[in-house]
Every structure is written in C-alpha cells, then in structure tokens.
C-alpha cells in the first residue's frame, strides 16, 4: 500500500461523492445547463484532472503526517528538556501532557493580534505567510518511506533534494522582511543577524549535501536513501555529517545558534512585534523547520528508511529523525548562545574548510569506485 494508491482511492471517493451531486443536478435541471453539469462531472473524472487531484491529496496527507510528527517533536523536546533540567515538563493535559501543545496553540488563537501602527502593513502581513508557507512546503518534498512520498503514479519527484534546499533558502528573505516591516530596532537587528547567519551557513550546508549527492549520483531523496542500503553515508562522510548537523542547527535557529531571536538581548528578535497566532505560527514553523532538518539529515546521512524489517520502513525513518532531534535537544539543554561575530567566524573559518575537505573525500571515494 503506497501513498499514491491511497490518495488515488481517496480522491476517487471524493470525486465520486461530488459527481453524485453534480450528475444529480444534471438529471434534475433540464436543457443546456444540465448538460453543462454532466460534462463538468465527466471532466472531474477524467484521468488528467484526477492525477492533479491525487498529487494534491498526497501533499495534504504527507503534510498532515509531518505536522503530527512536529507536534510530537515539540512534546518530546519539552519532556526531554525537563529531564535534562530536573523537572517534569508538560504534565496535566492529556496522557503525559501530550496535548499541552494543542492547549498552547488554542491559547495563541485566543490572543489578540496586534499590528504596530508604524509597521509596514503589507510586508508585516506577507512575511509570516512566506515563512510558514515555504517551511511547510519543505515537508512535502521529504518522503517518509519508500512508498510514502510524493510520487507521480509511482515515480518519485525528481531533484527533490535540490527543491528542499531551495525552499530552505527562502526563509532568510521573509525574516529580513519581517524584521524590517515591524519598525523596531530590535527586530531589525534580529532580522539582519538572521539573514547574515542563514546565508553564511547555506554554503557549508550545501557543500556537505553536495558530497552526498556526489556519492549517490542522484538528486532524489529516494535514490539517495536507496544508495545507502549497504552503508550509511554518515560513516564515510563523518566530517560532512558533523558540518551538516551544525549548519542545520544554525539554519533552524536553535540554541546555541539562536541569536536572531536571542530573548535576553533582542527580546525574541525578529518576532518581537508579532502577537497571537501569528507568533504561534512562527514558533510552530521553527519546529517544522527543525523536523525538516532532522528528516533531511536522516535521509541523507543515516540511511533513511533502511533498517531490519522488524518494524515498517516509515518507522525506521522517523526513529532516525527523532534521534537527530534528540541530539538537538541535548545541545540546547547544555550550551549557551554564542555571539554574532563568533557564529560567522565559525561558519566561514571552520565549517567551510571542513565542508570542502569533506567534498574532496567524497570525490576521491567516488573516483576510487568505493561507492
């Protein structure tokens, strides 16, 4: 049972239900209008349209599953942080406090949304849309299992790795826009920092990804994962894996690289003036990006869904992604935040050479024919 057939069946069911009414109307209404209804129903059921709807349905299913994972990740982070810091974490809402995140989301919905008078209204409104939209779009590109990804009649999306990182790179733009539009010095500094940080960490990140692609010889997640059936890329490309982890932490703005929103100095940085659910979406989007980063790390370096067939492939993938996330939480639980110039230093002077070295290793390995 793969995602394509499930979504095809679902879409088929939906189209049947809709067509039942449309044909009914066509039967009830005589004349040319009724015929128009009939032809509408025929159009809906035609293979081309069905294909598009099926792909949409796939995206919706994939994103729903991914968002459920995101919520679970937030819960895991809260529980783990609590244990790292010797307290309990969410406790009251639901079993072991699992539904605490939903309660918090509900609270965000109830809060007033305030727009600062001097804010640039259009950019203020559009920045979160770009940020959230682009981040959720990443989720659609990552397949969770061999058959649980977006496919076109069983053919996976070509170049999904490139697509995922292209979308990843949209965020600095929206953050800069948000920081500028809020018309506040703190947000402006936060936006600037964020843009500088993300841009400088894109390069080592993409270089380390490039080494994986060199070894796998494909831009598709499915192919990359299939290529790791024998050995995870984290083993030969260990340096690249470390660089990738550090860069992903910086990309998703988590401690110790969360200085764009350093709450102690910049009062949550570029999100300062956003309130209510807009802020809530920002917060959630951070975790969406966190999940995306972990999932990509699992797919590119940790062998994706390859594993003993005790449990389904999808679970192997999720377990690996969660383990990466646990490392993120652990880092967050024990390290302070570093400074802007230091983070740029680190990115340009340490990580970039390491990423280059890693690329060289990958090329050498590929040339020697090991992979």
């Amino acid at each position: 049972m793969d995602l394509w057939s499930v979504s095809y069946d679902l879409t088929n069911l939906l189209v049947d239900i809709v067509n039942f009414f449309i044909y009914g109307l066509g039967w009830l209404i005589p004349g040319s209008i009724g015929e128009a209804f009939d032809s509408l129903g025929d159009w809906l059921a035609s293979p081309g349209v069905m294909r598009i709807f099926t792909i949409l349905m796939e995206i919706i299913l994939l994103i729903v599953v991914a968002l459920l994972n995101v919520v679970t990740l937030i819960w895991i982070e809260r529980k783990l942080l609590a244990r790292f810091w010797d307290f309990r974490g969410p406790f009251y809402v639901g079993p072991l406090g699992y539904f605490q995140n939903f309660a918090d989301g509900l609270k965000f919905f109830l809060k007033q949304i305030i727009t600062p008078i001097k804010a640039d209204k259009f950019s203020y409104f559009i920045a979160p849309v770009i940020f959230i939209g682009s981040s959720i779009l990443i989720l659609g590109t990552i397949p969770i299992g061999p058959e649980f990804g977006i496919t076109d009649e069983g053919t996976p999306v070509p170049g999904s790795v490139i697509l995922a990182f292209a979308i990843f790179a949209v965020a600095p733009f929206s953050i800069l826009v948000a920081g500028w539009a809020e018309n506040n010095k703190f947000t402006l500094i936060g936006g600037m920092r964020s843009a500088a940080q993300m841009m400088s960490y894109e390069i080592p990140l993409l270089l380390s990804v490039a080494s994986v692609i060199v070894l796998a010889g494909s831009f598709s997640f499915v192919d990359v994962v299939e290529a790791q059936a024998d050995m995870w890329y984290a083993v030969p490309l260990f340096i690249g894996f470390l660089v990738f982890l550090v860069c992903i932490v910086a990309e998703v703005e988590r401690i110790p690289f969360d200085l764009p929103e350093a709450e102690a100095e910049l009062v949550e940085g570029w999100t300062t003036e956003y309130s209510g659910m807009r802020f809530g979406f920002f917060m959630m989007t951070e975790y969406v990006r966190g999940y995306a980063g972990c999932a990509i790390a699992a797919a590119l370096f940790l062998g994706g869904w390859n594993g003993p067939a005790i449990i389904p492939d999808e679970f192997w993938f999720l377990i690996k992604a969660y383990m990466v996330f646990v490392i993120f939480v652990w880092i967050r639980a024990s390290l302070p935040r570093i400074r802007t110039d230091q983070i740029l230093d680190l990115g340009w002077k340490r990580l970039l050479p390491l990423a280059m070295l890693n690329l060289v290793i990958a090329v050498v390995l590929k040339t020697l024919g090991v992979f």
Binding site: D258, A264, E265, A333, P336, T340
Partner: protein, 360 residues
C-alpha cells in the same frame, strides 16, 4: 549602518528589574551607554524617617529581594552602633551564618540570571534548583522564603530551630558537590568562555575611582573585602580567603563569585562549630540617642553602608542607604563601550543587578 540609540529597558529581559540602559550602537558595536534608573523608586529613605526603629526592620528586607538578610542585618547593626548595644555572642555567630547562607543563595540567583542572559537555560534551571537548598535553610531559620526579617536590633529573632545544625551541615556538604557540577557547565564550556573572557574590562584604577565594590571590584584585581579588612560581627574569628582575580573581565567576576560561594560554605561550617551557647537577643531601648553612626557590610553585590542620624526620638532623623549597585551601575559606560550589543547582557549580567536596592 548609522549610529542609533537602543533602549534596553525598562521592559527588557536583560535588566532583571526595571531600569533603562540606553546604548548607542554603530552597527553592533557600542559607542556610548547611558544607564537610567528610578523606575522602582519607592522613597525608602522617606519611609524610614516616618517609622520607628522597630518598624523599619522588615522594610529594609525589601531593599534587595535577593539578599534581604544582609540588608536587614546592616540596618540592625547600624542602629546598634548608634545606641551602643552589644549583641550577645551567640547572636553574632547566628548572624554570620545566616548572612553567609544568604550570600550563597544570592550568588546562586546571580548565576541563574546570568546563565539565562547568555542563553544557557540549563544553568538557569539548575542554579535556581540549588538555590532552593539555601532558601530552605533560611526558611527553617526564619520562617519565610524571601523577606526573612530575621535580625532584630539587639540580636536575632529566634534561636536556631532544633536539628538545624545537622540539616545545615548536610546541605552545605551537598551543595559543595553541586557547585562542581555547575562549574562544568561554565568553566568547561568553550562557548561560555567565548561569551565571557575579555569582556567588560574594568581596570583596577577605573574600578577604584568609580567606586565599584564587591565581586566586581575584586575581579578587578583589588583584594578588599569588608568582612576581612573592616571586620564586623565575628568575621575576624573566621578563617577565610578574600577571593580576587586579575582578569578584570566578566570571567573574572564569575570566578570570584563561584569561589566566594565555596568560602561561604566554609564560613558557615566554622560559625556552626564555634557557636557558643547563650541568649540570642537583648532588649534594646526604644529611643535612640542623638548622634550619628555608620554600618558597613559586605553585601553579596558590594559594599553596603547605612548612615543613621538619631535625634533622641524613636524615629531616625535621617537614614541614608548606600547601595553597592547604585554606584556599580554608574560604571556601566566604562564597561560597555567598545563591545558588541550581544555582550551587553553578558557584561551587565556579570555585575548582578538588583534594582530594589539601587532605586531604594
């Protein structure tokens, strides 16, 4: 980017209270700084002039919520100097012990606040947790968790509760182990060193001239501690070392405070060991004589002084409070200029800001 003024405060997580640090930045580099205070001004000195000597006691607790026993004790000591009362020996030891426990709690609170400033949330939570050990001791001793109101003019409110000595020693031993654990989060963390070394340098001459006191002064290479060099109560019978550091930077202040906590543990142990039996309080007259007196103590944040003038009635004619941070904050510009905006939190966090005593 052009130069611009940034208001860090009054509502800013860095301030730990209510004050406004205006910094002028050129890009991310600070070129000027101007601290502005007064948001928490409660007119303490005017209130003191309108209450009698007994009633002032609990109000002095509110001078600094972080180390209320110290201020309460300073007030009592000053008034005792004024009316010339000799405190019973046991009360002196109990006071020294309570002050040192309070010093540990206060430094722990500083550690927590500072860790939160630099984004080390583990440090915040764990330091607050271990501060509880000391707060529980003080609660056992005085019956309150924050504003203890334990010193009285002429002694302390009550003798040690039963089994306090055992619990206290146990807690101190436990706490010393915990300090080591805390140190690994800071001393052994490269990122913490990146955030603290070479920042907020206040040279020895500047520190003395600006009137900075306490751990900040000692981290600026001046080995001066009121407890040692201008001893009060029974500190001259205690064996402890004045902690200082020659780095003059944020890291030096961190080292001084951590080592002071260890010294405080030693002092508590010694005080418990040497404590004689006897009464803990003497009856003191309601009316103070004419004249003036000063009391000088080592607050966890610096040198606390009270200057009291009595006019023969039961109310002080004038009670002036010298709060250490009031002066230390005025040195903010010297410490900040030349560093980055991101360092403001680290530098200002390192002087342990408490607005209660600053604004009075």
């Amino acid at each position: 980017m052009a130069e611009m003024w940034i208001n860090m405060g009054p509502q800013h997580p860095m301030t730990h209270g209510l004050w406004n640090l205006r910094v002028k930045v050129d890009g991310e580099v600070i070129v000027d700084a101007m601290p502005e205070i007064g948001y928490l001004h409660r007119g303490m000195e005017k209130i003191f002039e309108n209450k009698n000597y007994t009633q002032i006691g609990p109000i002095t607790d509110r001078l600094c919520y972080g180390s209320s026993i110290t201020w309460n004790h300073l007030y009592c000591m000053t008034v005792e100097n004024l009316i010339g009362v000799e405190v019973p020996e046991r009360a002196k030891y109990i006071r020294v012990m309570a002050i040192e426990i309070q010093r540990i709690a206060s430094h722990m609170m500083w550690l927590a606040a500072y860790a939160a400033d630099i984004g080390l949330l583990a440090g915040f939570v764990l330091a607050m947790r271990d501060r509880e050990i000391m707060v529980d001791l003080l609660q056992m001793l005085s019956g309150s968790r924050l504003t203890y109101n334990y010193s009285r003019i002429g002694g302390v409110a009550a003798d040690l509760p039963p089994e306090f000595e055992r619990d206290c020693l146990r807690a101190i031993d436990f706490f010393e182990k915990r300090i080591e654990e805390h140190e690994t989060l800071y001393r052994d963390s490269k990122i913490f060193l990146m955030r603290s070394e070479g920042l907020g340098i206040l040279s020895r001459e500047d520190a003395i001239n600006l009137g900075v006191t306490g751990p900040t002064l000692r981290a600026s290479n001046v080995k001066y501690d009121v407890r040692k060099h201008n001893s009060y109560e029974v500190y001259d019978e205690m064996d402890f070392e004045v902690q200082c550091h020659s780095d003059c930077d944020v890291y030096g202040r961190y080292v001084v405070r951590m080592n002071e906590m260890r010294e405080s543990c030693n002092i508590v142990r010694q005080a418990l060991k040497k404590m004689p039996k006897g009464p803990v309080r003497v009856k003191t007259p309601m009316y103070a004589p004419e004249g003036d007196a000063i009391g000088r103590v080592e607050d966890p944040r610096g040198e606390g002084i009270m200057y009291v003038i009595g006019d023969g009635t039961d109310k002080p004619y004038r009670l002036k409070v010298r709060s250490p941070l009031f002066v230390t904050l005025s040195a903010a510009k010297k410490m900040l200029v030349g560093y980055k905006v991101a360092d403001v939190v680290s530098i200002m966090g390192s002087i342990d800001v408490c607005m209660g005593e600053t604004d009075k």
